[in-house]
Each structure stands twice: as C-alpha cells, then as structure tokens.
Symmetry: C2
Subunit: 291 residues, 2 copies
Amino acid sequence: MIVYLNGEYVDESEAKVSIDDRGFLFADGVYEVAHVYGGTLFEWRRHRDRLRHSLEVVRIRGVDLDELDRAADTLLEHFRAEMARRNEPADGSLYVEVTRGAHPRAHLFPDPPVRPTVVMWIRPVEPIPAELVERGVKVITVPDDRWSKVWIKTVGLLSNVLAKQYAHDRGAFEAIYVRDGIVTECTSANLFIVQQGTLRTAPVSNYILPGVTREVVLEIAQEEGLPVNLTPFGVDEVYTADEVFLTGTLTEVLPITQVDDVRIGTRAGPVALRLRRLLHERAGVLKRSST
Amino acid sequence: MIVYLNGEYVDESEAKVSIDDRGFLFADGVYEVAHVYGGTLFEWRRHRDRLRHSLEVVRIRGVDLDELDRAADTLLEHFRAEMARRNEPADGSLYVEVTRGAHPRAHLFPDPPVRPTVVMWIRPVEPIPAELVERGVKVITVPDDRWSKVWIKTVGLLSNVLAKQYAHDRGAFEAIYVRDGIVTECTSANLFIVQQGTLRTAPVSNYILPGVTREVVLEIAQEEGLPVNLTPFGVDEVYTADEVFLTGTLTEVLPITQVDDVRIGTRAGPVALRLRRLLHERAGVLKRSST
C-alpha cells in the first residue's frame, strides 16, 4: 500500500511518524474516512468540508486542502491500477488524518507552530455480506461515556474502541450509546429508527458526530417523501420501533434486527433496504450489491 | 536524546511509530510521566502500579513491566551521564507510553493481538522559577467536557490540550475543570484548597485522575497532622478559600493567587509553601530549590 505522508508517497512499511507526534501523544488530531466506490470517492466534498471544520475548531492551521485533493487523486489512481491488476472491484476506504505535528511533549500548542502531520491512504474494503444485510445485525446499548464534543471528528476514540469491542465480545455488531436515557449514536455509525413510516434519528448536538451518510440518507428520505422526525428519543422507542438501522460511511445502511434482548422484526425491514438501495444508486453501485 | 522503543534504544530522530499504530489512530494507549530528581525516579512504584492498572482496564496485554523497569534504569544511566557532561542537574521527566500496537485500522482489537508499542524517554526539566512559586499563578475555570473515565490515564488528551491553551491565551497558567458546579481537577494537575487550616481536594471518582503527587501530598498532610476533607466542593469555595494550589508530577506544589477574576491572597500561601518544601524533602531535593 502507498501512503501519502507530509507531501511524499511512501510504502506503508516506511510510513512512520515521530514519537513526538501530537497525534500519538495527545490524540491532538482529526480525521475522515470516505468510501471509494468503483474507484471514485463518494461525497468527498462533505468529508472535506467536515475536515476543514474539525481543523478550525481544534485550531490546527496551515493545512492546504487543495493539496489533500491532489493527494486523494493520486492515491485513487494508484488504487484503481492496483485493484485492476488484482482483477478486483476498486472499492475501498480513504483515510486521512491531520495532527498538530511533532514537538517535544507539552500540552500547550507548539509556539511557533510546527508543520501539521498529514497522512492519507486508501485500503480495499469488502462489501458487507448480503446475508448479513438480509438477516440484520444485533446491537447492544451502553452508557455514552464520551466527552461532550463528539461532534468534532478527533482521533480520541478509545471509548468507541472499548464499546465496540464490548459489543463484539457479546456477539453484537455495534453498541448504541445512551446518554441520560437518550439515544445518541453508535461507536462508528449513526442510528435510525422507523416508527409507523416515520424516520427518526438523533438531532445534531454536541453528543453526536453528524455522519455524512446520515445526511445523505436524510436527503434521500426527503426526495422520497418519507416523513422525518429529528427529536431525541430513548431506548424504549428503539425497542418498540418497526425498524432500526445503522448508517455509516462503510456501514452504508445496515438493518438491525436485535437490540439487547429485544427482537426487532425477523429480517431486514423494507424501509432500511429501500434506503440502502437508493444510497447504492447514488454511489453508482450497480450490480455489485445483491440487495 | 535516547529513546526506548520496543526493546531497542534509538536516537530520537529514529524513534518513529507506524501510521497504523493505534496510539496514533485511536488514542488507544496509556501513559505515565514520572519526575527524575537528581538522577533518581521519584515514586516510580506508584507510577508503575497506575500504569499496570491503566493497561488492565483498557485490556492491553503482553507488556512486561520488569522490562520497563530495566528500560527506565538504562535511560536513567544515560540521562545522568548526559547531564553530568553538560554540568547540569539531572532533573528530568520520564515519559512512558504503551499502545495496543500497529494494525490496519479497525475499531475492534486486533485478533490475534499484536505486540503493544512501548516507548519511553527522559527529558530534562527546568525547575519552576522561584519567583513564580512565590508570586503564585493565575488559573481560570472551564466546563469539564471530558469523558466519564478520566481516571484511566489514556493519551486521549485533546480536551486537556485545548483547555490548557485556552487558559494560556488568557494569561493563566492552568484551567480548573468544573463539572455540574463541582470542581474536579486541572488539565494536568490536581487542585487543592485550604479552608481554615483544612486541606480539601476532590475525592477519587470517575471524574479525576488520581495524581501521584496528590496522593503524596495527602500522605504528607497526614504525617503533619493537617486536617483533610475529601468531600466535593464547588467554584465558590475555591473563590473564598484561604489558599489554592496545584499538585502534579512536574508542577509539584504550585501556589495559585488568582482564580478567574478573584484574588486569593497576595502571595503564595504558607500551607502550600510548607507542603512544597516537604515534598522536596521527600524527593531528596536539597539546595536545588530556593523555597
């Protein structure tokens, strides 16, 4: 794999950062993950805008976003060539991380500022198996113990890691964060429910990361005339929903058929499957998905 | 500077970790900072125990703490020799970080586990200027926006970085975190107040990182017969306290003479200065400090 690192393209084995990097020492960095469908970035503009916003709010300056666009193009070219060589579809995920740079450890920002560390790569992703989509996944609920600025897409993800592993250890695909009785989101996806034909998901607040796929699904719902309700809801409304599903850059739209010990239907719900199909259409995925 | 990195001793310029390191991608790592006084580690046993506990709670396995002890000894030897060569006191800080290791990015723990990344170094520290100690520092209060497991010493410190920078930008030395009206701690130090001769600091809870220096100061207080009250207190009690001070591994005991716009005395308080002197005695600091 080729990695873009501070203006250079290097092999993954050479792609290293200093032990003084503030991403490594303080989680003092932000990131994005974008989906590559058939060799093309999906919704890059939104990811790019969100990255710019993340950089602004954590006050990391001196990043040339046009240079990131060029890096993405170069990596996409490599990726398409590599996947063609392997005779595999050019489906992948682009990861980009920007940290405040490397400087001897101290909490305060380096003064004068140092050059931010910028790293980007594309790795292949396997499509989610059709039978998993059709059957739906199990999720569990966990207390939302994260900080109160999860709307900033930082690399400080230890809570997410621990909660997702906790879910995995209990046979679940994801964990739903619950804060003061209110459902916020999952560890790496947003959560939607369907109640009598109405789509619900948590409103934008300090306590959710407004997912790009969440936004796209809300747009699709509007185009399709599906009613949407963005008021907060609790765990009981999840348990009694007609459908529950996840949205995420790599998760796309993934039906949920069990939340804790409560079954939600017996198979993937029709609204989730329809939104998944429409998302795929928008991403230009034609015959690659069986749903 | 010599850096211990996964069993090797390398020059700082060579001390790099993979862009796949989970410390860099997820803040999936824990750390300690210990004070080196005159070439000797202070309270290493407590730091080591806390590190072991941090590793346990985030489920990072396979770290040989005895190997860390040997690395610390080797680095101390280098450090003493280097500082002798410079004809400077061997006062420094030892930093050790352990992450879950390097693996292509996914939230779930690598399965099978990969080798944790272990890095350690010692850098010189300047003593806090005597006039700063004597005059006392200004601090400000900020909302405590951190996650609810700050008792785990993880490298997910972006809130701390942003709050400390926010304080610095306003001419303050530190920021006091306030959660629901209750004072928790500062961004890289614990907070104490003195009320009519009684020492108060926040009790151990999910919302403070129990500092080694906090513990040592409480022990010293007990030895000295100083009354201690470990019940929670609010900002008003800080504003009206007779004395306010910080404790921390590198901060030691540092008097505070202003909190937000409120003056606390006109110079360093006697209890803080006495505890600072007793801490220095315990650390074997004799003529090196002027207080």
